[in-house]
Each structure stands twice: as structure tokens, then as C-alpha cells.
């Protein structure tokens, strides 16, 4: 029955443009070039303002989601990778929950699955573009006029379509890996670099101050007479990015890279080729950045809904328990939750905040660690990396654990993988909380996402033979 639903998408197949897969293996250098060029196009798309915008002054409804979805407000990348991620998530969950049964070993089914994802992404793009334009994000649609509104929708759709094609190009084998994660990581990296090196100045009454932490550090040291106080200011200023944040970002980045190397190496040998032994590494970050992505998506959505409802019905008691929003006294920044459920889900940004409201801190930390561990455990079931799937994979490839009977493979994996996944998820959550506390440039979740993605790319590059040193010796020979 479910295959019948997918069959509808067959109609679209002949009209969907699709990047041709490379006929032979693309050399490493070419892969690097393709990746760089696609990235460059993506970045340029993210800097060009949409044509026909009157104003984009209204408060940003998607503030919490921007970093994760690689989108820039008011530019061609307004939607970013949202439609692609959403459609792939929908289909993966449908498949994971067995609502769609797809035989992964039949090529036809896989093709259909892909086409369905793409069609869904395009429909979602159209829907989102219409919503964004009609909700008055760029000025009242009546003032803009029908022609410009249509032009805006067209621009948004075409830009997203190009991102879809670029992602497909990269993941088909011309690039080093998934395009989406690359785009997200780049967006995060761009924001961090901007905060560290921004040449723009801000005037808040005490004369011009540079926005970038490192730039202002040198500027203050050069201009001020009192070097000691200049140093103190460069390190502690509260209104703009400071040097401490830069240092803590670097620290978190290095620490994540260090933790990435943690893995449990299962000694395996092949039953097909006698004498061939190797190891199957089970990483501490078994599900990589997935739990933190899902966790931040969940909280962002709760914030979004709560904020929207609060603006509409500010005095409803149920909505007030969900979240009361407002600008925190003493800051001019974005709206934050002041009380209610959203308040407890909101990240803690300083040690002072942690100590001021210990109940909130405990609830928040427990919430983040718990959801990350839970999501991680759920994700291994959905993504086909559960012990059962890995045991099956071992059986297909004729691998057995050294010193164990063949029938014990599943039991052994079941002992290791769920623990690794849950603990890895909790570790990722703890890292995110910790980096928010340290006050890194950009949120903890986004830094984690960027560093895990970059490390993943490094790993692929190493496997491809870009670097001479093998990351996990023995593993690549087996595969």
C-alpha cells in the first residue's frame, strides 16, 4: 500500500533535473575544487539581497533557527537549506517508523524514494516562499504589489532549487560529502569569524568601538594610553564580542576535536578472506551531531510557537505557562523568555545566570542531557545503525568479532552500541551546555555542529587519500 503512495511521484520523474553521477571516481583534487566552488556560490547567494524588498525591519521570527538552517535574513538564502532538511527528515522518519516500506536493495524503490524527497522539497520551498512573502516579512504585500511579490517568490524558489542541485552535486560524488552539512558548518564558521574579525564600528556613547573582538583588541591596545585598562576592556567588555569569547571558542573547538578521536575498537576478522584482520571502530560520538541538531530544532520550534502565541494572546494563562516573552532589562538584544516553560529550556549564558537560578540550571542541564541521549538512542534505530543492523551488515560482509563466536556478534554489539550512543549524546549535550556557559562566539550547538562536520570532512579526506596519514589504521583496508 505504501509503495502505492510513492508511485505517484513516478509521474514527476521525467521532469526533475538531476545531476549526472560521475562515470568514474572523481580524483581527490577535483573533489576539492568542486566543493570549494559550490561553497563559494552558496556564500555569494547568502550575501545578495533579494530584489524588491521594501523593509525587513520587523522582528525576526526565525531568529533561533537561522544558524542551524544556513539562512541569512533578506538575502537569496532566506530559506537556506530548510526545505531540503525538512523533506529529508519527513521521509526518513516515515521510513524509520515503517510507515513507508522501502526495499533498500531494490534500485527502483530507492529511486522513487529519492524522487519523492525532491518533489516534496520543491513543494515545501514554494509553500515557505509564499508564506514568507505574504506574512509581510519584506513589507506589506499590498504595498509591494503583485508583480514584485511573484518575483520575490520566484527568486526564493530558484535560489533554493540551486542549493538543492548543489547539494546533490556534492553528495553524488563530485564533492567530499553532504552539501547541507557543509553549508551549515560554513555558515556557523562565517558567523564566528565575523564576530572575531568584524571591521564594523559601533557607537554606544563612548566613541567608536570595533565590533570584532580581535580587531578591537589591537585597536584598544594601540589607541589607549593606559595599556592595562585597555587589556581589561578588550577581554571583558560585555556589550560586544570580547577576547575571552574568542579564546573559549578555540578551546571548545580543540576539545571537541580531541573527543572525536575517542572510539572503541572492536577487533574483527573476515571469514571470507582468511587471515584478514582489522578493527571496527565504534565512536564515542556514535551519532555525531544528530542529537544536538534535533535538540536545537525541538527547542527552536517550541520557542517559535510560544513566542507567536504570546504575541497573539499575551494574557492567556496557559500560554503564559508556555512562555512569557520580553526584552531582558538592561539589554537591547532579541526577545527572550522571562518565565514559563520556555524560560527553563533557554540556554544559560553565564556563570552568574547559572548561580542566580539554581533550579533553572538543574532543570535545563537535565533537559538537554536527557533529550540528547534519548534522541541519540532513537536515531540509531531510525538511521539503520542499531546493533541489529550492524550485526546484519557484519554477516553480509562475512565479518566476525575476533575471539567470539559468530552467533555472539549481535549480543556483543548490543552491549556496546546503545551505551556508546546514549553516552555520546549526553556528552554532546554537556558540551553544548558547557560552551554556552563559557560564552563562545555563536551558540554551543552551532559550534559543535561546525566542528563535528569539519572533522567528518577531514576524516573523509583522509580516507580518500588526501593526507598520507591514516586516521584509523586497518579500518579502510577492511571496507
Amino acid at each position: 500500500m505504501s509503495a502505492g503512495i510513492l508511485d505517484i511521484f513516478k509521474l514527476f520523474a521525467p521532469y526533475l533535473p538531476e545531476v549526472r553521477a560521475p562515470e568514474r571516481k572523481v580524483p581527490y583534487n577535483q573533489k576539492i575544487i568542486w566543493t570549494a566552488v559550490s561553497l563559494l556560490i552558496f556564500l555569494i547567494l547568502g550575501q545578495i539581497p533579494l530584489y524588491g524588498i521594501i523593509s525587513s525591519e520587523t522582528s525576526d521570527p526565525l531568529y533561533w533557527l537561522r544558524a542551524m538552517l544556513a539562512s541569512n535574513r533578506g538575502t537569496l538564502m532566506e530559506l537556506g537549506v530548510t526545505p531540503i532538511i525538512t523533506s529529508s527528515m519527513i521521509f526518513q522518519f516515515l521510513q524509520g517508523t515503517q510507515l513507508l516500506t522501502i526495499q533498500m536493495d531494490s534500485k527502483q524503490d530507492r529511486e522513487l524514494f529519492q524522487i519523492a524527497q525532491k518533489v516534496c522539497a520543491i513543494i515545501l520551498t514554494f509553500g515557505q516562499a509564499v508564506v514568507v512573502v505574504l506574512s509581510g516579512n519584506y513589507g506589506n504585500p499590498k504595498d509591494i504589489g503583485i508583480a514584485i511579490s511573484l518575483l520575490l517568490i520566484f527568486q526564493l524558489m530558484f535560489a533554493s532549487f540551486i542549493v538543492l542541485l548543489l547539494d546533490e552535486l556534492l553528495s553524488k560524488g563530485y564533492g567530499l560529502g553532504s552539501g547541507i552539512s557543509l553549508f551549515t558548518a560554513t555558515n556557523v564558521a562565517e558567523q564566528i569569524c565575523w564576530k572575531a574579525l568584524a571591521p564594523t564600528t559601533v557607537n554606544s556613547g563612548r566613541g567608536k568601538e570595533f565590533e570584532g573582538a580581535i580587531v578591537s583588541f589591537f585597536h584598544l591596545l594601540a589607541v589607549r594610553k593606559d595599556k592595562k585598562r585597555a587589556l581589561v576592556e578588550a577581554f571583558y567588555r560585555a556589550n560586544l564580542p570580547n577576547m575571552f569569547q574568542v579564546l573559549s571558542t578555540v578551546f571548545v573547538f580543540l576539545f571537541v576535536l580531541y573527543l572525536q578521536g575517542f572510539n572503541y575498537e572492536l577487533p574483527v576478522r573476515s571469514t571470507k578472506v582468511r587471515g584478514s584482520v582489522g578493527s571496527y571502530p565504534i565512536k564515542l560520538f556514535y551519532t555525531s551531531n544528530t542529537p544536538i541538531m534535533l535538540q536545537s530544532a525541538l527547542t527552536s520550534n517550541v520557542f517559535l510557537i510560544s513566542q507567536m502565541l504570546y504575541q497573539r494572546f499575551p494574557s492567556n494563562p496557559i500560554i503564559c505557562t508556555l512562555g512569557v516573552w520580553g526584552i531582558k532589562p538592561g539589554t537591547q538584544g532579541p526577545q527572550v523568555a522571562l518565565s514559563g516553560l520556555s524560560y527553563y529550556m533557554q540556554p544559560i549564558y553565564s556563570l552568574k545566570e547559572l548561580l542566580m537560578d539554581p533550579i533553572k540550571s538543574v532543570v535545563y542541564i537535565a533537559f538537554v542531557l536527557g533529550t540528547c541521549a534519548l534522541f541519540s538512542k532513537t536515531w540509531i534505530e531510525i538511521s539503520g545503525t542499531s546493533p541489529k543492523d550492524v550485526a546484519k551488515q557484519f554477516k553480509d560482509q562475512g565479518l566476525v568479532i575476533n575471539g567470539k563466536r559468530e552467533v555472539n556478534v549481535y549480543r556483543e554489539l548490543k552491549r556496546i552500541i546503545p551505551t556508546a550512543a546514549a553516552f555520546g549524546g549526553a556528552t554532546i549535550g554537556a558540551l553544548s551546555v558547557g560552551s554556552d556557559l563559557l560564552g563562545t562566539l555563536g551558540s554551543g550547538a552551532s559550534i559543535l555542529m561546525a566542528s563535528t562536520t569539519i572533522y567528518g570532512y577531514y576524516e573523509t579526506a583522509a580516507k580518500e587519500g588526501g593526507f598520507t596519514k591514516n586516521l584509523v589504521p586497518g579500518f579502510s583496508d577492511m571496507m
Binding site: 538531476e18 556560490i41 533498500m104 534500485k107 530507492r110 540551486i162 556514535y286 551519532t287 539503520g384
Partner: protein
Amino acid sequence: MSSTPPGGQRTLQKRRQAQTAKDKQAKQTPTSARTAGHGGSSNSILKIYTDEANGLRVDPLVVLFLAVGFIFSVVALHVISKVTGKLF
């Protein structure tokens, strides 16, 4: 010129080789969600389009040209609106 009689050991070997080659070809297509791209332990969760579907095949270079053309046309629109605003 040496000619071997047909059949025998060598033919069997050749057949076996062909069979293993065929098996390998079949094995190369993903058999699980993981190898199809939804890796968990791998770096990305979002590697979607790994297979070839028979639709409108596009060369990767075409995608690049399409993107650059689009960027230029939007920039051109901006420039045109600026210029016409200055002139009239």
C-alpha cells in the same frame, strides 16, 4: 600457437570469476539505509541523493552556470532599479 581444448578447469575458473564480478556489482548497490547514505556513525545524516534516477540528466557544469547566471540576473535587477531611479 597453442590452443587449449574447450571446457575443463580454465572455463570453470572463468565462469567463477565472472560470477564473483557480477556479485560484486550487485553488492555495490546499497543494501541498507546506512550504505544508502543515512549513516549514523558517519559524518553526515543528510546525504540524500546518492543514487541515479532516470530523470532529466544534468551535467554538474550546467548547475554552476545556472547558479552564476541567476546571481548575475538578480544583481542586474538591482543595478537596473538603481540606474532608472537615478535617471528618471
